[in-house]
Amino acid sequence: MLKLCAPIAGLVLNALTGIWLARRRNGLLRSLVAGFLAGLAVALFLLLAGDGSASAGSRAAAGLTYLALGYVYFHFVNMGETARRIRLLRELLAAPPGGFTGAELKARYPAREIVRRRLQRLLNNGQVILADGRYRLGPRPVMYWITLVIMAWKRMLFGSGWNGDGTFERLDGEAGNE
């Protein structure tokens, strides 16, 4: 039973630690990473110190479950902070009763701002560096490698619809991106 509880207990501690640290004015990313590690430590402790009858495979399964749950949780919090859809919905939540026109929405959340914020984040994390007035990849461009993997997965899933330059025109206008 402990094998089943370990990932859940880890996730709960992950969330509580992250919230507690963020409210004490630590950065959000730092709080989330610390929360994730605290949850991992608890999950591992429960798995290793608890049920002696658990096999290595069963412990590995529980560990993998925690990693997956931790990833989902991180993604959920991150979505609330950075996803464009959520940001547009938040703007509309604060809109007057008549709502906003497309132009008003774009003025409140312009592409220019989206690009600047993300570039700044990439610079802050060392994924991109600015040298001699030009952007180049940082020394350990993990984000670039992840992007290449996602591009390869896209090509495998969508085949010819993929136009190869980071865009995916053929899906535009298709319903189903709920």
């Binding site: 959000l28 990439l122 952007y135 189903g176």
Partner: protein, 166 residues
Amino acid sequence: MKVLGYGLGLFLAALLAHILIWRLRRPARRIRVLCLLFPVFLAAGLAWLPGRFGLPGLAPSDYLEVILLDLSLAAAYLVTYPALEVESPSMLLVLMVGRAGRAGLDPADPERDLDDRRLVEPRLKDLERSRLVVCRDGCYRLTPAGRRFVGIFVGYRNLFRPEGGG
């Protein structure tokens, strides 16, 4: 090892089915189909496979562990999937920089290439298609579903604010 084997095996089988379906005939309601695909494979696999074809049986507690592992992996894939369908600005940026190579990317290029038409308008269309937003008389408003949806994120986001949100 059997919990890991069943959990990973059923997840990978559903993933393979997902790839085949998407290559043969991409469904119109892709997220909905994906949300069904993983639990259907899990339920069918657990109902049919244990103790057959030389595979080991599962104790009742093993079933719960397999279900938790499989659904956690499926959830991880599901939250990543939208990044496959839409253009993520961060990924586009890092790709532009990567493709510029040693010569580097002119700082003016991203703002010129990634404009409202590419980054904002498709997201607004998505929101309309998902019925989270409605456009009437040229004005966008939240639907009740949109209000509930964004409320979850706003509420949770407020938990992280030192002043308790607002």
